[in-house]
């Protein structure tokens, strides 16, 4: 098997991306393909003095930048590392594709170049991050600002498969993001979705409120891409603001600095728990192939973890399960 990595995507490309991908070889059975400017990639590889036997280099001349308009970029930059990866995945010349590049472009390209799983209306971003003392999934984390109930049910189903088969969460609890816990709360969209989820085979635990999300009340947190994006970034913002305030408390004087040293180990453990680089990127569920979005600011460790989880994802059978689900769905929902 071959896992391809977009060597040109992300804030720290190509250096950290190449480094992380090579590092991953120690833990995976697949070979890796590095897609991008071959000179730049070779420079990185030479400086690392690595064994090249399990590394393929695929040369491309263009790069999709973060500022590029997603659909335009995918249509025009045909010789970009991202488009090449998605095309090779469609042809099954590779088995998975990881990119830390432009999220919108990866989504658009997933749809336009690789294609959807037949029967899935809209792919979703499934963002994996710590909720309580374990990992959870937020889906859709930003792919679809406007959705229908059937989309949310598909997000929930795909997220539950990924949670169970890739992250190892047993019988994952599915929660619907809403403004109150009782049935009947919220917009027409969530009310209709509630009914559909109740009738589904999922382990649906009902509505969950904003304050429940960080405590891991649900394993699979289901919402539209607008709300999901706000949830993801607000969580990041509150945590960051909190930790800035914390640092200020410890920097106040000699005594507080000493106190800081005394609890350093505890804080390091806590930071590790909250560290996104540990959690291996976000799969684009519903795309017909293992496409994984790594965080834009991915360093080598984050890239490595994304590659590791991509191999798990390929081997998990999640895509086949989604295909099965779509084919055996009892009725056409609209």
């Amino acid at each position: 098997m071959i896992i391809a990595i977009d060597a040109m995507g992300g804030d720290h490309a190509p250096k950290e991306i190449v480094k992380g991908a090579v590092e991953a070889l120690k833990y995976i059975e697949s070979d890796i393909m590095l897609i991008g400017d071959e000179n730049k990639i070779n420079n990185e590889l030479e400086s690392m003095k690595v064994d090249l036997s399990r590394i393929i280099i695929e040369h491309t001349t263009e790069v999709i930048e973060n500022e590029d308009k997603p659909v335009v970029a995918i249509k025009r930059k045909r010789d970009s590392s991202m488009v090449r990866g998605l095309d090779l995945l469609k042809k099954r010349e590779i088995h998975g594709f990881v990119s830390a590049g432009n999220t919108g472009a990866l989504l658009a390209g997933g749809l336009l170049r690789t294609g959807r799983i037949r029967g899935i209306d809209r792919p979703a971003i499934a963002s994996v991050f710590p909720m309580g003392d374990k990992m959870g999934i937020l889906t859709d984390a930003g792919a679809n600002a406007e959705v229908k109930p059937r989309n949310l049910v598909e997000f929930a189903t795909m997220g539950a498969y990924y949670g169970e088969l890739v992250l190892g969460i047993e019988n994952p609890k599915v929660g619907l993001v809403n403004v109150g816990s009782e049935k009947g709360k919220g917009t027409t969209l969530v009310q209709e979705t509630y009914d559909l989820l109740e009738q589904s085979d999922l382990n649906f635990i009902g509505n969950i409120e904003g304050r429940d999300i960080p405590f891991g009340t649900a394993d699979i947190v289901v919402t539209d891409g607008f709300t999901g994006n706000i949830i993801l970034k607000l969580t990041e913002g509150v945590a960051k603001s909190f930790s800035n305030n914390l640092k200020a408390v410890f920097k106040k004087n000699i005594l507080s600095m000493m106190a800081g040293l005394m609890v350093k180990k505890g804080f390091d453990d806590f930071k590790k728990k909250m560290d996104y680089t540990e959690y291996g990127g976000a799969p684009l569920l519903g795309v017909n192939g293992a496409v994984v979005k790594a965080h834009g600011s991915s360093n080598a460790k984050a890239t490595m973890n994304a590659v590791l989880y991509t191999e798990k994802y390929i081997n998990s059978g999640v895509i086949e399960k989604i295909q099965n689900y779509v084919e055996n769905r009892s009725e056409e929902i609209e």
Copy 2:
């Protein structure tokens, strides 16, 4: 002037509510009216041995509970403390009304009993909480799950008046919650709202993302009530989860407990900054009268602060400014 307080609403009613309202008398010029079961209110007052010269007791026999359905409760419980307060406000027998009771009922009652400001389509909850090193307003924080662009513009305008005239924020910066900072991002709703806000007289700074909210990038954070509710509760949840983890770090062993004592003062200051009880409740902007929702778990201090801010709100001229705005609005927006 008379500020009335719903003595029966909130988790700690009537004790903490009565205590806080009485405490507020030290700082306000208005008299207070305590609405509720007169026996219970008198018991509390007696145990406090207070001067009764500036206190009016208004007896009611019913209580709207948190579990009650808002509209049903407002229609059926005609002799409840909440309905009485809203009715007296409509008749201008009182000048402001504070309740820590059922939020949905207070909103429904604000509309059905007190009434809207003529020309304002939908009242909104303006939640005041710390953003960065200052106070900011989130509006709508949960009143309207589904809205039109004109509603969001009205929320922004009313929030800006309140921010300026009650909280003292000079030329408040208005930000529209969205999934990206560039114009053209997000749902049709936010795109259309963006255009209207750009044409308005507000100090509109454009879209703000979830991660910007806690840093106070905007003073007035504008969004629909669904997203606003999630933002409010998620902020609460992440902060709570973070602080639980923090406590665990300090409780680990003797050394870490010592460290905890060494930074206690710094943490206390930080906690005070984040303490909702300091911020005086959330006005229901668009209702034709000063109706303020205090947090359901309000203690005496939170109640006192809510009463203090209610007097500021009454004296601020915010309601007159909203009336003026509506009358002079250049064109009918739909």
